[in-house]
Symmetry: C2
Subunit: 149 residues, 2 copies
């Protein structure tokens, strides 16, 4: 089993939450997924493993996993309800517009820019978002231009 699944289950337990079949099913989907998944997609996929899972429980589990910092919400031009496994450290997202595959990257040097904008605007900047959108190598080959269901 993906060690990440163990890790997440342990984190749940450590925080006083119980381990249940529903949560296991949701975690196995999210911990493995390379692409963003919205609540309905998680529900459909997780139900293949545990068919009495309810959509309500998916919502509740997503909230807990996000609270624990194990997953994060992903904002995209066509919707902001999808999630992906989080990584540690400040990283940025690269997202495929066809299949919603996500890769993280780091290495922006925005300090100078932020300082300049702060001076020019009088704002105090607290955080920033940097996201790249495009097509992953597989979707470039396929010529796919699929959009989220």
């Amino acid at each position: 089993m993906d060690p990440r699944v163990y890790e997440w289950l342990a984190r749940l337990q450590k925080n006083g939450y119980r381990l249940t079949e529903s949560r296991r099913a949701v975690i196995e989907i999210l911990a493995h997924s390379e692409r963003t998944l919205n609540p309905t997609e998680v529900y459909d996929l997780a139900r293949q493993r545990y068919d009495s899972l309810g959509l309500v429980t998916v919502y509740r589990t997503l909230a807990k996993l996000e609270e624990l910092g194990l997953i994060q919400q992903v904002h995209q031009p066509d919707g902001c309800e999808a999630y992906i496994a989080a990584v540690s450290g400040h990283q940025h997202l690269l997202i495929c517009k066809a299949c919603n595959k996500v890769e993280y990257f780091q290495g922006d040097k925005l300090d100078g820019l932020v300082e300049r904008v702060e001076n020019e605007s009088g704002f105090l900047v607290q955080e920033h978002w940097l996201q790249l959108f495009g097509w992953c190598s597989k979707c470039q080959q396929n010529g796919t231009q699929v959009s989220r269901s």
Copy 2:
């Protein structure tokens, strides 16, 4: 009257849409606003000028203005349903977390970064989002920490 209001009305007309009191009211609010407004906020403000305006018409007008590129949706950590007047050229957003005031800025040099990420990932990058979040000078003074209603 704000010349921008004229401009937007002209753009509507040029595209075969009719000029109506409802649209005028919505446009006057959005063309003037320095901060992001969600549909309900637009509705409340525009009704002060034209009180028989319906919320449905606000939604329909927002869709048209966005289609014409006159306004753009703004994605924020706490919601993605707000709009702000668009500007021409590729600009980035600086947003106040307290009052939702928006300023545009430009001048990121991401070309090198994008190229590096493309090489490392095999992605073909098409667009990017760069947004800064913080507090505008007024809200810093007030010590306000208001959130969207």
